[in-house]
């Protein structure tokens, strides 16, 4: 039996499943089924069962899945059964909103260092973190052992920032700057660009 890599598209759905399970759990449900889950998410039940089958057997014929158990298992698979330290680069409007976003903390993502290059912003304190000059980035994230970063800078400096982050040990980047970055295969990269989403929808409008 050859080692089969789990497709990234499957990995991409696991956080969605996790979110739905958390919601169901908070609503007081104890069990669910691939059918119920699929209905809520607009996904086929077969796809959900197939996705989960890459990692093991989590359900029971006739009764479905115990929500709390499945939730814990997916958390482990995704490595979110622990806390993650995150660096944030760029402290404009967007960076500030990110720094304040409670959703990150709730899910175990903690912004431990914030960087900007605007002298007016340096020294400001958010949730106990000081905004530092980008010149301090290398030693700060290397010292803290930070592996994840969020880029919320203008597009013009995003590649340069990414290079610096990677050189100092960052392995995963969430990029809000509206530009395609070039990174080594060993570094994970995700994009958030609201304009891209809006333009994808206008195609269907008239």
């Amino acid at each position: 039996m050859a080692i089969t890599e789990v497709p990234d598209i499957v990995i991409g759905r696991l956080p969605i499943y996790l979110r739905a399970l958390t919601l169901l759990g908070e609503a007081g449900h104890e069990f669910t089924s691939s059918q119920e889950l699929g209905q809520r998410l607009g996904i086929g039940s077969a796809q959900i069962r197939k996705d989960l089958s890459h990692f093991g057997e989590f359900g029971k014929q006739g009764t479905g899945y115990e929500i709390k158990y499945l939730r814990d298992q997916i958390s482990k698979i995704l490595h979110v059964d622990r806390d993650w330290d995150v660096a944030l680069v760029g402290f404009g409007d967007l960076g500030q909103a990110i720094a304040h976003y409670a959703g990150f903390i709730d899910e175990g993502f903690h912004i431990r260092a914030i960087f900007d290059n605007d002298p007016a912003k340096l020294g400001r304190v958010v949730n106990g973190k000081v905004v530092r000059n980008v010149s301090e980035l290398p030693e700060t994230i290397a010292k803290l052992g930070i592996k994840m970063a969020i880029i919320a800078t203008p597009a013009s400096v995003a590649q340069e920032v990414a290079d610096k982050l990677i050189k100092n040990g960052v392995k995963a980047i969430l990029n809000y700057a509206p530009i395609t970055l070039s990174v080594p295969d060993s570094v994970r990269l995700q994009y958030i660009d609201p304009v891209v989403h809006m333009q994808r929808m206008t195609y269907y409008l008239d």
Copy 2:
């Protein structure tokens, strides 16, 4: 010849092409090729040519694509060769960052109405727009004829807000609330959830 729908996954790449073309244009380039574009975007050149072939012939053998021309054509295809009025619901940290985001205006997306249900926020003015109570949403967006909206509310009220938007004529929603929404097929829906992106990356970290 049967009418062939262009796959949505192709539509999803067009804004990326557009962004790259704009960047190349601003850098002073006049022509590009599917190869150059592909290299910059980490996409195969054949895929770019195939994607474009759904809409027509925009290049020239031997020389490639004229950047300005291709940019204009893709803009037309995506219906972003015009301005779009947008409603924003939710004026917390995130909503405020969205309201201030210059990237939207640059690309022709104009936030014409802002809603929240927190009395403390009502009446505040951003870029000439007043924050209104959600109770005024129906008549306001119906009157303005708004077709696009951005939801930046807590998850708990997002579905209710979406329903209200759709009932009053909205056809496309960009949802920042961390919950899967249920909407009719006739309504376009895109999601932005940074936590989902982060969790998708931690799978590959250890």
